[in-house]
Symmetry: C2
Subunit: 226 residues, 2 copies
């Protein structure tokens, strides 16, 4: 299967049936997590799995299908907190937190979620559970649906901002960019910005997330849908 250099030799075949769609999706997600979404290509993935490129197409329809599968697979790691808080606002906050954790664990997920509609049975189960819990807390289903969406969008957007572009980078890409760009400007023209530069670079972090999430959840529960 491998020669002494560690790369697969052409002519050496994988045994039949030794590959599954699940393996492929897992490897693709791991590759995207480790090397970034732009590094996920069919040739690289095939090399990791020690198979020919076209073998992959026996299990996935095309790259779009693979991206959808990655998104659903990543979301499968999401666990709703148990027991679910009965207070609707607390429930929304708990769900947002759990979602953010999952998205940060797979840094390429947010941008996938924000650039294509990702739906599957798992998503429906999650929505149904949340709607039921919100209903027990007194929320009408329609208001619950809107609240779920708002928290979903806020959290996914936040995670996209937070996820570092390159691996092994302690601070977010935005933090570095703020510092770099501001250094090239005349500070006296932007006194206020300069005075909060530290806040701006630290902005994609837990406290900032919690702040907005709490505000959003409280406001959503207070205002019923028209």
């Amino acid at each position: 299967m491998r020669d002494e250099t560690g790369v697969r030799r052409p002519g050496q075949r994988r045994p039949r049936g030794s590959l599954t769609r699940e393996q492929i999706v897992n490897a693709a997600l791991r590759l995207a997590d480790e090397e970034g979404l732009e590094a996920l290509s069919m040739p690289v993935l095939a090399r990791r799995l020690e198979c020919g490129v076209m073998t992959l197409y026996g299990y996935i329809a095309n790259k779009d299908d693979l991206l959808d599968a990655i998104a659903l697979r990543g979301l499968a790691d999401l666990r709703l907190p148990q027991p679910l808080p009965s207070d609707p606002a607390a429930l929304l906050v708990a769900w947002g937190r759990a979602l953010r954790q999952t998205l940060l664990a797979h840094p390429s997920l947010p941008v996938i979620f924000l650039s294509r509609p990702v739906l599957g049975p798992g998503i429906f189960r999650g929505v149904e559970t949340l709607l039921a819990a919100l209903g027990r807390g007194g929320q009408a289903p329609a208001a619950g649906a809107h609240a779920i969406y708002a928290v979903l969008i806020y959290t996914t957007g936040f995670a996209a901002w937070e996820a570092p572009r390159t691996r092994q980078q302690p601070e977010s890409a935005y933090a570095a960019a703020w510092r770099r760009e501001f250094a090239s400007l005349d500070p006296s023209v932007f006194p206020l910005t300069g005075s909060v530069l530290e806040e701006l670079t630290r902005v994609a972090g837990e406290e900032q997330f919690e702040l907005g999430l709490a505000a959003l959840a409280a406001g959503l529960v207070a205002a019923p849908t028209p």
Copy 2:
């Protein structure tokens, strides 16, 4: 410059100096708006501008540079409402609305903003103006910075969800996906989801945006930064 079929003939050169970086960026933004971000490629862009592909590289460093320039160019269309509301919450809402309008006018912008750090003098000017206005309304600069970021993230995330994937599609890609996926499931297992399916498909719209935005702005103004 063109032959009778409308395509540029090789050998026919553009006059010197008849191309500017601004033209290129504008054409690229228009191309992305009309055909989608995935259709924006250097060869296609060159064909639109009736120049050779490599000519573009005299004005832009690489495709990343072009994407950054597109993002900044698109944001330049953003106009803060005049006069600025003095109430901080109202100001945040007004700004979020203006930002959403600009993002929807250029459907490829949200995903660019969410996948790379985009900063430039225009951004700094906007932040400085907002911080000053929030300060006049009684907000501390640090709290203002956090509030600006929260609204920015919520609005950009929302716009990304809203922007249709394909042109000439009246309803969002998510709306169609919700309907399609739900049709393939057993409705009795998801009674609540089924009862709010209409809300879920209509969720990426103006009322939903306003709802979350108002909740967020109110919560942000009420809770000062720790």
